[in-house]
Symmetry: C2
Subunit: 137 residues, 2 copies
DNA sequence: GTTTTTACTTGCAAAATGCAAGTCCTCGTG
DNA sequence: CACGAGGACTTGCATTTTGCAAGTAAAAAC
């Protein structure tokens, strides 16, 4: 509830996308699932940036409503749920990759990641395929 | 003032980028400059989605501080300023393109733009080059 | 010299965010 | 099977950000 659908929708595809992940955290959650393999609420909560628990819960609901992630009971652990990216969510791989490459090109303090980013740049198709397949690059 | 630099910086390139344009409006401003050719405050204010004037002013300041846009006096009109994308800003073209293509693939109501997006998909290099050059696609 | 244009500020209500502290199951153990 | 611990969230505010409306300042036009 608290529907936020198409609040700013103008017909522009960029605006459609921002309606879904145009905020501080949504893309980071998607990144944690796509490149870090995070699957549970706890794993997402322990991400690199420290999202707070209420925001994470809200974002997961929104992303689920937008068809980016699914939520299912963990068959092996009754108190746990497994979040997963849908095809629509995995298909954000190229967006994440372009954002990361842009940062690598323009963030003067991106030394730590350069090896990683160089590898992605050298084989973008492969990196994208691996991300889509859920194999951490 | 009200420094927001690296508030959430974790070293991740995605987080670096979101620090700069991870909000509701920044990318739309960049889009208006990159694909609509908006150059003045007034043109940006009259964008497709209706940003409010105080937010626009603040975003322009942040984007300028982040090296994405420049602001200069209009030599032909003393009361006007000309905003322009820097190389760093123009280099966001691939990000905008991937976002738009993703929306085209997954927004069921994206009929109006399909012709446009198909053209981009058919010649991504060209579309990117044209956006970079400031030629509206 | 008065009115318009252009580019912003300012004020304030409403919404979103962030932190800390619960709550509600479920599982593992004695 | 009681009991503590784990996992996934809510709930309650204080703080921050957003958004609308209105106001200001300086250059152009008339």
């Amino acid at each position: 509830m608290t529907q936020s659908r198409s609040k700013y929708d103008s017909g522009c595809p960029v605006a459609y996308a921002l309606d879904i992940f145009g905020d501080r955290w949504s893309l980071l959650v998607i990144r944690d699932m796509a490149v870090k393999g995070a699957r549970t609420y706890g794993e997402l909560l322990a991400g690199w940036e420290g999202i707070s628990t209420n925001i994470l819960a809200q974002r997961l609901k929104q992303l689920e409503a937008a068809g980016i992630v699914t939520k299912a009971k963990d068959p092996d652990n009754g108190r746990s749920y497994v979040y997963a990216l849908t095809e629509k969510g995995r298909d954000l791989a190229p967006v994440l990759i372009e954002i990361a490459l842009w940062s690598g090109r323009h963030n003067p303090a991106a030394h730590a990641m350069t090896g990683f980013l160089d590898k992605i740049e050298a084989d973008r198709q492969g990196a994208e395929a691996r991300m889509r397949a859920g194999e951490l690059p």
